[in-house]
Symmetry: C2
Subunit: 363 residues, 2 copies
């Protein structure tokens, strides 16, 4: 009977109230732990769906001690790896490319297999050539398909097979363990995943911008036409890259698919006055930079944008562990609810460039 | 990048979708554990805001072994205790009593101090006299103010000072430990508390009907005028009960306060076609009966209605531990959001008897 009170005043904008209430109760400064949490301590963060960072948690991993550009080049000298190729480091990102339905498309990378030494030489030399602007196309090993237990299996023993506190707390093994190798010219656009994520920096730095699931109304999700980069057909068909193309990234052709639409955030907290919604200004992004050996808990359904800085070799390397989230309980249906209410409100008021696209899509 | 999919069809009723999604992902049959969970196992239930029951968990407590009507009467023979007195066992319950604003009021009990032996004799004899219908006024010791560490301190050593798995998991001591002594004629109306609740049955049975926080749109919360029962003034002022009044519960006078309104659920899952909202039919109430020694985890913000059955002595006795909930994370603001969206929708469509009352209230 502790919940009795005068009836509170009628708030005409539940979405603004939601974001404000959340901001009042939660810090936008990430919690920093000095050592790994126990499984129980971790579960408390899972329960409140709140991120934390553990500085230097992975400093003693063989990966953190030994991996660098030369080590990797040597270790993987005979391997061929999948590489995402884009003109601007914009794999899986909203990209300006006007179509009848939308000024932006969801650009997927051209994927190709490359000998690992060629790939990493490309990264390091591009990185050092002009640190600020990519000369030539941008490459990123970012397959997110459990690649560390597949393509990169030979490196897997250099990291733990699971993160003990997460494995014990969540009572499951990781669904995927991913290796990320890129340079400063790649950025991962704001998105969310249905995973509890333990993200570990090995070389260089990653700069995360995080938004909680309740910030859906801030990120301006739009149904973007799906598009994919490809290399124009060569006279002699060959799978590896030619120098000519590397130097002219515009030769990557972007093909839009008419059928498939991908609902995707289009607001970027780094450009707050572009593609914003009326709620974007209420978002309090959590910003955290991971340095070598740092470990981030990125809770399920949190939006994250990730950019990178390279080490002295000119590469950025990270490993992450995805654990299936628990769909029971209220968080998942409530996150869908926020999305549905926002969408209904937007359609009622006829807001934004979603309108036509959404109608097309549902026809 | 696991969350890419075609844009889903536009659902015009986010609230119905929320309740349906929740029902699809969560069982309405409570989980039964055979032994107490570890702190970590408990934290998993807290994380998913999901109840469970542990059968016979408290069977070895001194309270479970020794407390019965005679033991308590003897143990507390010199004590005076606070008793909630109502005509129909309706302490803190929506009660028909038409006012200009509302057909129901929120009826608070008449509270008075009674010698414990008189109180318990009253409970047992009333219980056995007519098991189905109360003869005379209904009494319930239900102060919910940490009474087991205050009024009933002498009994406190018969129960654990905290529930170890909850204390360790939540990293806090209980905010309140409450003793409940009544008979079958008292019912606690559907309501929610901002507490993680560990509820332990000592004698008799309690019958819980539970609804998750997302079911706010089902419970038809209304701003009810606050009212309180009192005994009409006696010529000779005396604090204990007279036989005459006991036999004529209608002599309890219900006084409505003009000023204070209490937002309170008015839908009762046991009478589903009275005071229902358009969403009540979507609710899947979780029903569980606690027997002697059973322990229930009732998660924060869950709606609960509680009725009782007596033991062979004619009493029902329980103890519960309230732990402050964690207001950080998304659950609390999202629960408020559901309430605000429901309220806005109801006001937009001009539904239900809230309308006038709400307007009065905010004038
Ligand atoms: O490291 C990146 O570029 C993106 C990481 C990411 O999106 C993830 O771990 O889910
Ligand atoms: O036992 C009862 O009558 C009600 C219990 C209750 O509402 C609670 O423990 O919060």
């Amino acid at each position: 009977m502790s919940d009795l009170s005068h009836d509170e005043p009628y708030n005409s904008d539940p979405i603004a109230e939601l974001i404000e209430n959340y901001n009042e109760l939660n810090s936008s400064v990430i919690e920093e732990l000095t050592e790994e949490p126990s499984p129980l301590e971790f579960m408390r963060y899972v329960a409140k769906n709140t991120p934390f960072v553990v500085r230097r948690a992975a400093k003693d991993w063989k990966a953190a001690k030994e991996w660098n550009a030369n080590f990797l080049k040597d270790f993987l000298k005979d391997e061929t790896v999948n590489v995402a190729v884009t003109p601007h480091g914009n794999a899986d990102a909203p990209t300006p490319h006007p179509t009848p339905e939308s000024p932006l498309v969801f650009a997927q990378p051209h994927e190709e297999d490359q000998p690992f030494p060629i790939f990493i030489n490309y990264l390091t030399s591009q990185s050092l050539l002009d640190p600020a602007k990519p000369i030539g196309e941008v490459r990123y090993a970012q397959t997110q398909n459990d690649n560390l237990r597949n393509e990169y299996l030979s490196l897997f023993s250099h990291v733990p097979p699971s993160i003990p506190f997460a494995r014990i707390a969540l009572d499951r093994d990781p669904d995927a363990i991913n290796l990320w190798i890129g340079n400063q010219h790649s950025t991962t656009a704001m998105h969310k995943d249905n995973y509890e994520n333990i993200y570990v920096q090995i070389r260089g730095q990653k700069h995360f911008i995080l938004l909680p699931p309740i910030c859906h109304p801030c990120v301006n999700e739009q149904p973007l036409p799906s598009a994919v980069y490809s290399r124009p057909q060569q006279p002699s068909s060959q799978t590896t890259t030619t120098t000519k193309e590397e130097e002219k990234p515009d030769l990557l052709r972007l093909t839009v698919s008419d059928k498939k639409k991908v609902p995707f955030p289009t607001w970027d907290p780094d450009r707050p006055f572009e593609n914003e919604t009326e709620y974007s200004c209420l978002a309090c992004p959590v910003r955290v930079t991971l340095h070598q050996g740092d470990m981030l808990y990125l809770p399920a359904l949190w939006y994250h944008k990730v950019s990178q800085s390279v080490d002295t070799d000119g590469v950025c390397v990270a490993v992450n562990y995805w654990y299936d989230m628990d769909f029971t309980g209220p968080l998942y249906p409530l996150s869908t609810f926020v999305r549905s209410v926002y969408k209904r409100d937007a359609q009622d008021t006829g807001d934004s460039f979603e309108q036509d696209a959404a109608e097309e899509d549902h026809a």
